[in-house]
Subunit: 371 residues, 2 copies
């Protein structure tokens, strides 16, 4: 069994340990020799280079992804060549294009923010007038980690982006917190869900995840699980699906975005769940039976490590972290620190949530050079 | 930070996930391109080939081992060349030569079986006469997994081995069970112990491990921990040390053998302990602060997967195992199945020991083709 991963970022990197343990061969098409997943890189090429992608895919049993940025024509060429592509192009379109996503969620009756496709300033102004004078505008494609997202109060504020094509306008949701629901689905239909988690964002980037989401048992968790399972089946997702959600102040659950690959909101599963998202993704795309998804401890807390204000010698900060936090599990991505760049994460699990949050934040800050 | 591992077996293989997560570069000197640790193999060569080992060591910060079979002259050449070798040659000698081990344990006052060095049949006969007419004879070097070990009742039964040099003769210990105590030690002296475990052998090969060892809290666990810590410090072991022990029917603890590397008795730590033996070994040989060693669940049970009576298509047996045992964690070593060969292991953790033993054995048997 040989899995090929397009893209050599940290998500591909973290598939490597799972593949090694399961006895699965893994190959990665990396962006360069210094890709985060470099240990498993067998070919170098861009995700948009059809020739490179096709050549890479020739030696593997199934192709999956580190990111959503493989163009549809390249995906179509893979399918045309008889390659098993999981998730498939039809599913991936909903993670690549936010307008495609919004239309489909409406068709499925899945709750989401009020939205509109706006092609010019007049249409955006009309949307603003109808929605309290503020809106989030998003470029339909290519945005991530806060890029391609802007809050506007006038149509003119999006004029530059409108010059390149229609935008997605969304109401500014009055949310209490953000949540994420992960599920995994096999081509043969088996579908399992991890516990709902709470995600804490800052500057458009995921900062912390608490699993399970506090105070969410019952209706909220059921709603989130139903939504994610509905989406996974309707879109024929294979592999891991993360559904990012808003919990509104009036206790509704709205779909924010989708990711069809392992996702930052699921890094806690490496230590915190019986089956990690990385192992499960490999099992799912190979159509192997899925593993148990329960929590191994009452609480898991994951805090990202972002490059700090001064980049510098990350290695020199590791001993202090390890000495002060002997129960913290450190994950480093082999990426050069730059301010704000995700370069690793720390997970702690146990019974005392307050203490775990303290430990995980302190450990992460140690590495960012902010402690 | 770059660690070089001499030997590409499953122990090197299982260091790879730990290295990836910690952001440590790992390089392996493998026996061939199909080594179990092939993903991290950067050079091919025999552990006895000084030129190959020296060339390999040039590119790493510290050298450690998948096995004990690097000859002392090669180790000496590494030290001579200024390479950090962990554990060092002086410590490794005790894992390479059982006579060296026995002499040193006596010097340290560590309890062990009655033993003698026997150079000929007459000396072995004298040992038999003094010890109830039965003895275990062992070749001092090169034995493992039941090889190089024989039970004899007459001197003549070891004549073939005696032709090659002196042997170790040991009393046949009347033991209740076998135990193993693992510790990890850094060059700077930090020393930590995992809980004592029970090991179940069959045909000279480790079959099962239960962690912690049932009914061992208190005196037995304290004795075992004291012995392992004494040995680690006296021998200046760096990295992980496993001390295989007999618990006698009259409740004594005797040292059987040592391993100065990750060991089969510690595979349970991947899921069962806060810090796995593989992560800890890397931390220890890099002189990084060591991680917490407590159990994550009340019980962990590890069962080896041995090649079954019919070799054949291992891949075809994996789906059944995964489907029937969704909580079992499967580890495959990428080795071709041959009868009796260790090709993987399965670990389950939880609260109900009887059920865990049942699950782990059933899952393992599924893969061996014996279920």
């Amino acid at each position: 069994m040989r899995v090929g991963v397009i893209g050599g970022g940290q998500l591909a990197r973290m598939m490597v340990p799972a593949a090694v343990e399961l006895g699965i061969d893994i190959a990665v098409l990396g962006e360069g020799p210094d890709a985060s997943a470099r240990l498993a890189v067998t070919a170098i090429g861009a995700a948009g280079d059809a020739d490179a992608v096709l050549a890479f895919a020739r030696d593997v049993d199934v192709v999956t992804f580190d990111h959503e940025h493989v163009p549809q024509p390249v995906l179509a060429a893979l399918v045309e060549a008889g390659v098993a592509v999981r998730p498939g192009p039809g599913a991936l379109a909903h993670a690549q294009d936010k307008l495609v996503l919004r239309r489909r969620m409406d068709e499925l009756g899945v709750p989401q923010p009020v939205w509109a496709e706006v092609a010019d300033e007049a249409q955006l102004t009309a949307f603003l007038d109808a929605n309290g004078g503020r809106a989030i505008v998003k470029t339909p494609r290519g945005g991530y980690d806060g890029k391609g997202v802007r809050v506007v109060t006038t149509g003119a504020e999006a004029a530059d982006w409108l010059a390149d094509g229609p935008l997605l306008a969304e109401e500014v949701v009055d949310f209490r917190r953000e949540l994420a629901q992960q599920v995994a689905r096999r081509p043969s239909g088996e579908l399992v869900a991890w516990p709902l988690v709470e995600t804490v964002q800052g500057g458009g980037v995921c900062r912390e995840v608490i699993a399970p989401a506090p105070h969410s048992a019952g209706r909220i968790a059921d709603l989130a699980c139903d939504i994610a399972m509905t989406v996974a089946e309707a879109l024929d997702v294979t592999g891991v699906l993360a559904v990012e959600l808003f919990e509104t102040v009036d206790a509704r659950i709205l779909v924010n975005e989708l990711a069809m690959r392992p996702h930052n909101s699921g890094h806690w599963t490496i230590e915190g769940a019986t089956t990690s998202q990385f192992e499960q993704h490999l099992r799912a795309v190979l159509d192997l039976p899925l593993g148990a998804t329960g929590c191994r401890d009452p609480w898991s807390v994951m805090v990202n490590v972002l490059g700090g204000p001064e980049d510098g010698d990350l290695d020199s900060r590791v001993p202090g972290l390890l000495a002060e936090h002997p129960t913290a599990k450190l994950h480093l991505y082999g990426k050069a620190p730059r301010p704000g760049r995700k370069i690793g994460h720390v997970t702690v699990t146990g019974e005392d949530l307050d203490d775990l949050v303290f430990q995980a934040r302190a450990a992460s800050a140690r590495l960012s050079g902010t402690a």
